[in-house]
């Protein structure tokens, strides 16, 4: 008898010694009582689902948390690509044309406009700053687009503008959280998490919610903007990178071959399967599924994140920069991901905070460069989705976390060398395109200097309600019970913006 056998024998004997007859009887009393109690309570609970054998029925979701679920209503789109310009782009240099502001350029802002308003940096009485771009009416719709976006002006008939979006946050972190989770404070699930929780994902080799960032930094609010909040963490966004490993730690460690990895996972899953047969805990099945999905992702993700296989004319259309981190690469990736059945693709592009503190943040210089960076890719994205028949079943959303003031920023009350604008959430521009969205519409009007909404004011909650509507949800009924109350993405607010729906 070798040592191992002796150890095993000792373990078995110890276990037997530990369980005396007294223990058995004692356990019986509580055990039987518990059983009886359990069955009584079961009869009081009208929600418990049982199948014919008296076993609790496992749903597909118990086994695979990303298994797809039918939406409550037929959906207009099956995927979403959300382009978030982190830092808040200036609507006054891109879409919201205000000739009157040009005439008032350089004049002091009237006190009536400043009373009761909070600004991040503007102090005292700032001067008004005319638009730093030239505008033209474009396309058949005649919507205004500035010369900062020459390519986008050619696809303007594909989109619907929201010209008077309103947010009550004026700092980046809270405003980004509000825009992405429906609350300016931490702890709520992001839109992408709600959507993957509610619908699951079609492609079982890829994550259901992918996040791509560009511009050198991630959003100010941190990774909570794609967090899952109180939803199970499997629904959080998976950040993929166009430079380096597409997902961190996706490669097998040195010295571990793919076969060995497969054998390891098979062995672990076999043990888990035995555990499941013993305890019937669906969490174990979910874990087995996660191991297998991670293994499949190891080949599927690098393959889809490789843009080099795309034909030259496509790469040229988007203006990709292979091997680098760029918004263009991310737009092309977004198309590839949606094409392969990923539910929600979230892009963040950093660098839109045009305060005018230096060259890079001046609305006539740095902002123009940022516009050039996104102009070609986002226009190409719309066209590429369209020619592949994907635009009909995809929703593309573009926007920042707020807009910018018609006044020139005067940090510390001083006049600044570069032209910049401060944070401003009263009225800013977003656009949507794709399935279920009107082509070439524009909803909402701001006043003559673009300071506040005159009509068609919509809130962040309204934007969320509209996104959920297009995916087949009634935002008022899509809830998750947490800490004693049902939670919604739109909290207790939000109206679907019917004006831009086809």
């Amino acid at each position: 008898m070798n040592n191992i056998d002796r150890l095993i024998k000792e373990k078995i004997e110890r276990e037997l010694q530990a369980n005396t007859r007294r223990h058995f009887i004692k356990n019986c009393v509580t055990g039987m009582g518990g059983l009886a109690l359990g069955s009584f309570f079961m009869s009081c609970n009208s929600f418990s689902s049982k199948n014919g054998n008296g076993k609790i029925a496992l749903t597909e979701r118990d086994v695979n948390p990303l298994a797809s679920l039918a939406p409550p209503f037929p959906a207009k789109v099956k995927s979403v690509i959300y382009l978030h310009m982190a830092g808040a782009p200036s609507q006054l240099e891109m879409f919201d044309y205000k000739p009157m502001l040009q005439k008032l350029d350089g004049q002091l802002t009237p006190q009536s406009m400043l009373e009761g308003k909070k600004f991040a940096f503007i102090r005292g009485t700032p001067k008004l700053l005319g638009p730093q771009a030239e505008f033209k009416q474009e396309g058949e719709s005649g919507n205004w687009v500035s010369n900062f976006l020459p390519h986008f002006s050619k696809v303007v008939d594909e989109v619907s503008f929201l010209k008077a979006v309103n947010t009550d946050q004026f700092n980046h972190g809270p405003a980004q959280l509000f825009m992405q989770t429906g609350s300016p404070r931490l702890g709520r699930p992001s839109i992408g998490s709600w959507v993957t929780y509610g619908l699951g994902s079609e492609n079982q080799n890829l994550p259901g919610f992918v996040v791509l960032t560009s511009g050198g930094k991630t959003p100010d609010a941190g990774k909570s903007v794609w967090g899952s909040g109180f939803l199970p963490s499997v629904y959080q966004g998976v950040q993929c990178r166009s430079k380096g490993d597409p997902v961190l730690y996706i490669d097998d460690p040195k010295g571990i071959s793919r076969d060995l990895k497969k054998n390891t996972i098979d062995a672990i899953n076999k043990i888990n399967k035995e555990e499941f047969n013993k305890y019937s805990d669906p969490e174990i099945l979910a874990r087995i599924n996660q191991y297998e999905m991670a293994y499949r992702m190891q080949t599927a993700v690098p393959e889809i994140m490789n843009i080099n296989n795309e034909p030259e004319h496509i790469k040229e259309m988007y203006g990709v920069k292979p091997g680098k981190e760029s918004f263009a690469n991310n737009c092309l990736l977004a198309r590839k991901l949606v094409e392969d059945g990923v539910r929600f693709v979230q892009l963040y592009d950093w660098g839109w905070d045009s305060h005018g503190t230096d060259h890079g943040t001046a609305v006539d210089l740095g902002l123009r460069n940022k516009c050039t960076e996104i102009d070609r890719p986002m226009s190409a994205l719309l066209l590429d989705l369209k020619q592949r028949g994907l635009l009909d079943e995809t929703l593309v959303v573009w926007g920042g976390e707020f807009g910018r003031t018609p006044m020139q920023e005067n940090r510390e009350g001083q006049e600044m060398a570069y032209k910049g604008r401060d944070h401003h959430g009263d009225a800013f521009t977003m656009w949507m395109a794709g399935g279920g969205i009107k082509k070439g519409a524009s909803h909402g009007v701001t006043d003559e200097i673009g300071y506040s909404a005159l009509e068609g004011k919509v809130s962040v909650h309204d934007v969320h309600a509209t996104i959920l509507h297009l995916l087949g949800f009634n935002h008022e009924q899509f809830t998750f019970d947490f800490q004693g109350r049902p939670f919604r993405l739109t909290d207790v607010e939000g109206h679907v913006i019917n004006e831009i729906l086809a």
């Binding site: 009584f40 009081c44 209503f73 079609e202 369209k386």
Partner: protein, 463 residues
């Protein structure tokens, strides 16, 4: 005889209180007598009465069950726990009297019997109550937040619904205004909980107004507080409903306004008041606006869906309560012509079929022509050349056809014009795409794609 049986049965709700009384008395006496043990004889007697009463209750209960047509499943637990209550009372009596020489009986701990009886009598009583009063009888009066904490959902009022063909026949107040009030206002303004001394559940209360007087100034909505408070800014102190409650929708507010502006009439029909249809469109049932056929089909069998899913197919209903299915092969790139035939059990239900990026060939059209309700068909990135595609022309619902990335040939293009419902054909990245530009012929849009963005000097300027 049956009459007597029924009578005894109906006495069950009266009789059941006897064993409850006896057993509780017995238990209380046991507790009172726990130190001295002087009353054992009396207690035993009480439990004997308890047993007799419980037995009678069981019998009358059984008659009630027979007479009133309850399903056995509804009463099973109550019945068995009643029988056990009777049995345990008997056991308790026997144990206390020590009439039996049976060793196991003497060994039974009295405390265990007592607790079992307490438990049994409570559960039996509760289950019985559930049968007569309904299972939500106890929890119904709890405040809403405690209910959600316990996971209990309450019924909400139905939203008003008008029909497109007879909306003018609906009485404005009764069928639209009051249901809106019921949904959004009455939970605080009702006879039990009249906040601001206002009751909105019926005409009388609405006309009476609240502590600040009338809430309606006929034909003047702006000065009628029932409307004016709805349109105050959400943060305003007087805004109604309070900020944290469900708000009225834009459309509902417009209805209230229109109702006041038209004499706040309680009897007239919408048609008689001459109101515009636009006001009511939000209350029509959601019209069928998606592209799928407006018919209903039988549900596909669960077994066949499960077995198709195990083959790596993605299948999902287009929505809850809709039997139409979306089918996709995204997760199974090896899917071929033969595999398609495994979809036979869901021919009728499939409206969206994505065979993109699979091994299928032109042979597949034969089988695809058997999907009567197919609306969206994706064959992109396959070896399809278009031969035999004319077989699809009998698919009367086919609306979208995606052939991008195939080797679809020019000569088969003309066949598509015979497809009646076809709205869009995607042909980007096919041999045809080079020499064609997007065009619309007979309501069918041919998308050849190949979009280009010109290289502009400004693309490379850095400011």
């Amino acid at each position: 005889m049956e009459v007597i049986q029924q009578l005894i049965g109906r006495l069950h709700p009266v009789v059941v209180h006897l064993p409850i009384g006896f057993i509780i008395t017995g238990l209380l006496l046991q507790w009172y007598d726990r130190k001295e043990n002087n009353l054992t004889n009396i207690i035993a007697l009480v439990f004997l009465w308890g047993f007799i009463a419980a037995t009678i209750a069981c019998i009358s209960g059984y008659f009630l069950y027979l007479g009133e047509g309850y399903a056995f499943d509804t009463v099973a637990l109550h019945l068995w726990s009643g029988v056990f209550t009777a049995l345990f009372s008997l056991l308790m009596f026997l144990r206390l009297k020590e009439v039996s020489e049976k060793i196991f009986l003497k060994r039974l701990p009295i405390v265990m019997l007592s607790f079992s009886l307490l438990f049994l009598i409570s559960i039996t009583g509760h289950l019985g109550g559930n049968i007569t009063h309904g299972s939500d009888y106890l929890t119904e009066p709890l405040p809403q937040n405690i209910k959600t904490l316990l996971g209990i959902r309450s019924d909400t009022y139905e939203m008003p619904v008008l029909q497109e063909d007879n909306w003018e026949e609906a009485v404005l107040y009764e069928e639209v205004v009051q249901p809106i009030l019921n949904n959004k206002c009455v939970s605080c303004h009702n006879p039990k909980k009249d906040k601001g001394e206002l009751q909105l559940q019926e005409e009388k209360g609405i006309l009476k107004g609240g502590e600040n007087g009338a809430i309606i100034k006929t034909n003047d909505p702006e000065n009628s507080s029932i409307y004016a408070r709805l349109v105050l800014p959400l943060d305003h102190e007087d805004h109604m409903p309070p900020k944290d409650k469900t708000q009225l929708t834009k459309e509902e507010i417009e209805i209230i306004k229109a109702w006041i502006a038209n004499n706040n009439d309680f009897d007239k029909k919408i048609g008689e008041l001459g109101l515009q249809k636009e006001l009511f469109t939000a209350f029509f049932p959601k019209t069928h606006k998606d592209i799928y056929p407006n018919i209903t089909v039988a549900e596909a069998s669960m077994d066949s869906i499960v077995s198709l899913k195990t083959k790596g197919l993605h299948i999902e209903p287009i929505s809850v309560d809709n039997n139409f299915l979306k089918v996709s092969c995204t997760n199974n790139p090896l899917f071929g012509d033969e595999d398609v035939k495994s979809l036979a059990p869901i021919l009728k239900q499939t409206v969206y079929l994505d065979l993109g990026d699979t091994q299928i060939t032109d042979e597949v059209f034969d089988f695809i022509s058997q999907f009567p309700n197919l609306t969206v068909l994706k064959l992109d990135k396959t070896d399809i050349s278009g031969k035999h595609i004319e077989k699809l022309k009998n698919l009367e619902h086919l609306t979208v056809l995606n052939l991008t990335g195939t080797s679809f040939k020019e000569e088969h293009l003309s066949v598509l014009s015979a497809f009646k419902q076809l709205k869009t054909v995607y042909l980007y990245n096919t041999p045809l795409a080079e020499n064609n530009i997007d065009k619309t012929i007979n309501e069918t849009h041919y998308n050849f794609g190949n979009y280009k963005l010109p290289i502009r000097a400004s693309d490379s300027i850095i400011y």
